[in-house]
């Protein structure tokens, strides 16, 4: 009975209730067919181009580069996608897949609300009924996105249980899916969960890296020295990294959320924590205590506030192909201000982790080297959090 399907090294797998095994197989088969179907791919391409606004620019951040005084920094502008983040790439892909499978209803989880908004958008566009589970804490932090989802016709359900954040929203979305499995598809938003989700999400997000690779070759004539992306579950990062994995000279750096600081225990840096375990269908690095109970993650950015990290990242870490660093809440806030002041771009708090790290790293590199940062989302959704965090100090 052993299979190695859906494994990245020892990570991944399908640790789900038996009721979900048949639907996961159905999903896997449907996806395998779809990804080889030129009609499906043409439809996806049409929406990504005409509706999402791809391709997104690879923008040379000249003033940021000058300010750091080292390597040239390029920004992959996923913040310019319709709905303001990379999440729409996957949401449109999976919504089209759901339609193809004859599923009329969608359930999704959301942390920052970006995946929820993207899914609500795709469902409005493709006439699917949509329910989004969101931790009550995140509903409070991201009120703007809750209202956006509701305007798009989605029902948002606040999850009061546990830490009332992304992990608890995933629990409820999984419960909902188990209970309505016959007519509902679960649009998982990150490169997490049981096989085939980590692969599907990666494949729908790899357009980020594919475009970047072509664009940097056009603009610089060579591949970048370093590619940097923030990591919660890891969807923007895996989408950015994957097309570069075989380019051994390109350094891949994922930036986890260090929250209040790694030594405080209040962070979301699962790879840093180095404990392995099973949650939400996958074997992965996981924040947990000695009893195997899942610990709450802490980050100022709701989208990174998750105790695990996608299985493919765990594998890339172990084989040394990617390295994983971390940035604190305070540093991420500095990243927001830095990009806003030098480039006139307000990054999402999630992306600001990558920006801050890139800025520090650039200083240690020479001007003929290049860094690409995945600017995974825009920061409008975070204005309330920013007012609380920096507004008072500047006033």
């Amino acid at each position: 009975m052993t299979t190695v399907r859906g494994r990245f090294g020892e990570y991944g797998g399908q640790f789900v209730p038996e009721t979900l095994m048949a639907p996961l197989l159905e999903l896997e088969q449907a996806y395998e067919e779809a990804k080889n179907d030129s009609e499906f791919l043409a439809q996806l391409h049409y929406y990504l181009q005409q509706y999402v606004g791809r391709e997104t620019p690879l923008y040379f951040a000249e003033r940021l580069t000058a300010k750091c005084g080292g390597a040239k920094i390029y920004l992959k502008r996923e913040d310019l996608n319709h709905t303001g983040a990379h999440k729409i790439n996957n949401a449109i892909g999976q919504a089209l897949l759901a339609k193809r499978m004859g599923k009329k209803k969608i359930v999704a989880e959301t942390g920052a609300g970006q995946h929820g908004v993207a899914t609500a958008t795709a469902c409005a566009l493709l006439d699917l009924e949509c329910i989004v589970y969101m931790g009550a804490e995140d509903v409070r932090r991201q009120a703007l996105n809750v209202f956006r989802m509701e305007l798009l016709g989605t029902k948002v359900i606040a999850v009061e249980k546990g830490s009332a954040t992304l992990k608890d929203a995933v629990n409820e979305a999984l419960r909902h899916w188990v209970t309505h499995v016959n007519d509902t598809h679960y649009i998982l938003g990150s490169a997490l969960g049981p096989h085939p989700f980590p692969t599907i999400v990666r494949d729908f997000q790899r357009i980020i890296g594919d475009e970047t690779r072509t664009q940097i070759l056009e603009q610089e004539g060579c591949l970048p020295n370093t590619v940097i992306a923030c990591i919660g579950g890891g969807s923007n990062a895996i989408g950015m990294f994957y097309p570069f994995v075989d380019d051994q000279d390109v350094q891949l750096i994922g930036v986890e959320a260090a929250g209040n600081g790694l030594t405080t225990g209040k962070h979301a840096a699962a790879i840093y924590g180095a404990q392995k375990g099973v949650l939400h269908g996958a074997y992965m690095y996981l924040l947990q205590d000695e009893n195997g109970f899942i610990q709450e993650a802490h980050s100022i950015s709701a989208g990174l506030d998750y105790p695990g990290v996608g299985p493919e990242h765990c594998y890339l870490n172990d084989i040394g192909r990617a390295i994983y660093e971390s940035v604190t809440d305070e540093e991420a806030l500095e990243g927001v201000k830095l990009l806003a002041e030098t480039e006139g771009i307000l990054p999402a708090l999630e992306s600001a982790h990558a920006i801050y790290y890139a800025a520090q790293l650039a200083k240690t590199m020479s001007p003929d080297e290049t860094i690409v940062v995945c600017l995974s989302g825009r920061g409008d959704k975070d204005v309330h959090t920013l007012i609380d965090a920096i507004g008072g100090k500047n006033a």
Partner: protein, 256 residues
């Protein structure tokens, strides 16, 4: 031992009755008296739930009981130690129901050994399907702790054959698409589903999820080898309502 206990019940013309209890709900100090009383009123085996922070297969009743148990500091370790302290007084087989991660953190081999010492003859792991069982299976085999497989309404025919062949002790037949917890309705095709399962299975087939009244017990007893009752037992224990529990157990007797 689990299968033998069920076979004995069936030979008497009764059906198996397996209550689910949440270890540590009300404090681990209540575990002994609860288990001893349940075995006294004639249950076939007892499913002992281990609380977990993220119980995705459970509905609100069991999830809340788990949260109460967690608040009292209950862990897999403290539960096994408590059970071991009165294992010589336990006369029915215990089945541990735990999510996988606490076992991985405990260590699979140590878990299997300590479970056996604590009177646990089988385990049910709701987030570990057959394909993933190798992560702990050899450890369980070594201690002869049965790994009980769940079969769902969505399991296709070929898969049912694999699951029933692989299961040990009994087959846990999930009666609904969904999570644990009381329900008023079940699908109409259940009898057919159970007929298929019983035909495929060399082991007794027990029905679980959503069974909450003596009428449900009688209904499922008519076409399965017994029932597992969770949320209703957990609720009744939390309220000290043994009358309800007695009535549920009584409904499993004298079926034919």
């Amino acid at each position: 031992m689990i299968q033998k206990a069920i076979d004995n019940v069936l030979a008497r013309g009764d059906r198996a009755f397996v209550p689910y209890i949440m270890a540590g709900d009300g404090g681990l100090e209540t575990l002994k008296s609860t288990i001893l009383r349940l075995q006294q009123i004639g249950v076939t085996a007892i499913e002992v739930g281990i609380p977990f922070t993220d119980p995705v297969a459970d509905g609100p009743t069991i999830e809340l009981a788990g949260q109460r148990a967690l608040q009292k500091g209950t862990t897999l370790k403290s539960t096994l130690a408590t059970l071991a302290s009165f294992a010589d007084e336990i006369t029915v087989p215990l089945v541990a129901m735990t999510y996988l991660n606490p076992i991985l953190a405990y260590g699979a081999e140590k878990f299997a050994y300590d479970a056996k010492q604590a009177g646990i003859h089988g385990v049910i792991i709701p987030d570990m399907p057959l394909e993933e069982r190798n992560i702990i299976y050899s450890a369980l085999q070594k201690e002869q702790v049965s790994l009980i497989q769940l079969v769902s309404l969505t399991s296709p025919v070929e898969r049912i054959a694999q699951l029933t062949a692989a299961s040990e002790g009994f087959i846990y037949a999930v009666t609904v698409n969904g999570i644990t917890g009381a329900r008023s309705d079940f699908a109409n095709e259940l009898e057919e589903h159970f007929a298929k399962l019983k035909a495929a299975s060399p082991l007794p087939v027990l029905a679980g999820f959503g069974i909450s009244t003596p009428e449900h017990v009688k209904k499922f007893a008519s076409f399965s080898d017994g029932v597992i009752v969770g949320s209703k037992i957990v609720d009744s224990l939390a309220n000290g309502d043994w009358t309800t529990i007695d009535a549920l157990v009584a409904a499993s007797k004298k079926i034919r």
